[in-house]
């Protein structure tokens, strides 16, 4: 006299709260441990892949000059965004710091890759996500969680046009 379920197609909630004990799903400790092992193993493998691929395909330095815009397009204290075609398409910001003073930085915050913005009223670059601040002059961290300075590009102005090249430290 084995028990047979009466309804062949019970409503959905009955599946979530079954009367029969053998219909209730039970996650055993062993199954949970197995899941944790697989999950952490997967995460470890993924991290290993990221590390290996960064070694296998190191970032190439930007070659040549790339046109961004005309000088008239960005007023003093203004900012524009650009990306260099034919590369890894990293988003950059171009800042017109003062008359004739231009800066170009990566737009990705070095903390968690939020888009940074230039705040002209304080002459600093802000990451709005976690209140991170960078120097608009050098890109170095002034405040907040970012661990590294913003990567920078050199800006060349020629014939009323703004070009960027790989950053060369002019002081050293």
């Amino acid at each position: 006299m084995a028990y047979e379920p009466k309804e062949k197609n019970p409503p959905n909630w009955k599946g979530d709260f079954p009367i029969r004990q053998d219909e209730a799903t039970h996650v055993t400790r062993r199954e949970f441990a197995k899941f944790l092992c697989l999950l952490s193993g997967g995460l470890a493998l993924g991290n290993g892949y990221v590390v290996l691929s960064s070694f296998a395909y190191p970032d190439k330095e930007l070659e040549g000059e790339h046109l961004v815009c005309n000088t008239s397009e960005v007023p003093v204290g203004g900012m524009t965004m650009f990306a260099i075609k034919g590369t890894k398409e990293i988003p950059y910001i171009l800042i017109h710091l003062a008359e004739g003073e231009w800066r170009a930085f990566e737009q990705k915050c070095t903390h968690l890759s939020c888009a940074v913005v230039y705040r002209d009223e304080v002459k600093k670059i802000e990451c709005p996500c976690h209140n991170g601040w960078f120097s608009a002059d050098t890109g170095e961290v002034l405040q907040g969680p970012p661990p590294r300075a913003l990567p920078q590009l050199s800006v060349v102005v020629r014939n009323e046009k703004v070009y960027v090249t790989a950053f060369k430290d002019t002081i050293s």
Binding site: M1, Y3, K6, I19, R20, Q21, H26
Partner: protein
């Protein structure tokens, strides 16, 4: 999921013969002896018509095929195992709402008001799952309660038939526990 308990003898069935109850309350006492019940009995001896007769009947959980008590439980406290035994409310889940008490057509679950818990017969699962007979059936002196095979029952009561189909108006309820009825009976109509 684990295989159903193999120790539970599927041939053994529970038979209730209401007419044989002599009001000795031995089943109640035996049931309360069980440590898992916390000194509370889960079987009840009721008077049929107290004003006119001393006739009593026993009330044991019928272990329905589609238990109404479990279906109406909002806390998912009552469950049925693969042997067809409807278990007493899981005390960690039971919220004492008495839904099961009102839903059961046999009037089996009783709410323990002091503990705000429902307790009902679970066919002595601690005993039957290891091949023993339920406490109440082993102590019943008159044979009102019997636990055994259908074949044994046929020999003991040749003029009765076990019935486990009950009609409550339009609703038909099939149970694991049988009630002894006059020979030829197939179902019991309760209006």
């Amino acid at each position: 999921m684990a295989e159903p308990e193999k120790n539970f003898d599927q041939d053994m069935e529970f038979f209730v013969d209401m007419q044989r109850c002599i009001s000795c309350h031995a089943c109640e006492t035996a049931c309360a002896e069980c440590e898992t019940n916390g000194q509370e009995t889960m079987i009840h001896v009721n008077y049929v018509d107290r004003a006119h007769s001393v006739q009593t009947t026993v009330q044991v959980c019928m272990h329905c095929e589609d238990p109404a008590c479990a279906n109406v439980c909002p806390a998912d406290a009552i469950s049925k195992d693969s042997n067809g035994v409807v278990h007493s409310a899981n005390t960690s889940r039971c919220i004492g709402c008495s839904n099961c008490v009102m839903a059961c057509p046999f009037g089996v679950p009783k709410k323990m008001e002091a503990a705000e818990l429902m307790m009902k017969c679970n066919l002595c699962y601690d005993r039957t799952s290891v091949g023993k007979k339920p406490m109440c059936a082993t102590v019943c002196p008159s044979g009102a309660l019997y636990y055994g095979t259908r074949e044994e029952m046929r020999k003991k009561r040749p003029n009765s038939d076990p019935v486990n189909t009950f009609k409550f108006g339009a609703q038909t309820v099939h149970t694991k526990v049988n009630v002894m009825m006059p020979k030829g009976s197939k179902e019991l109509k309760v209006h």
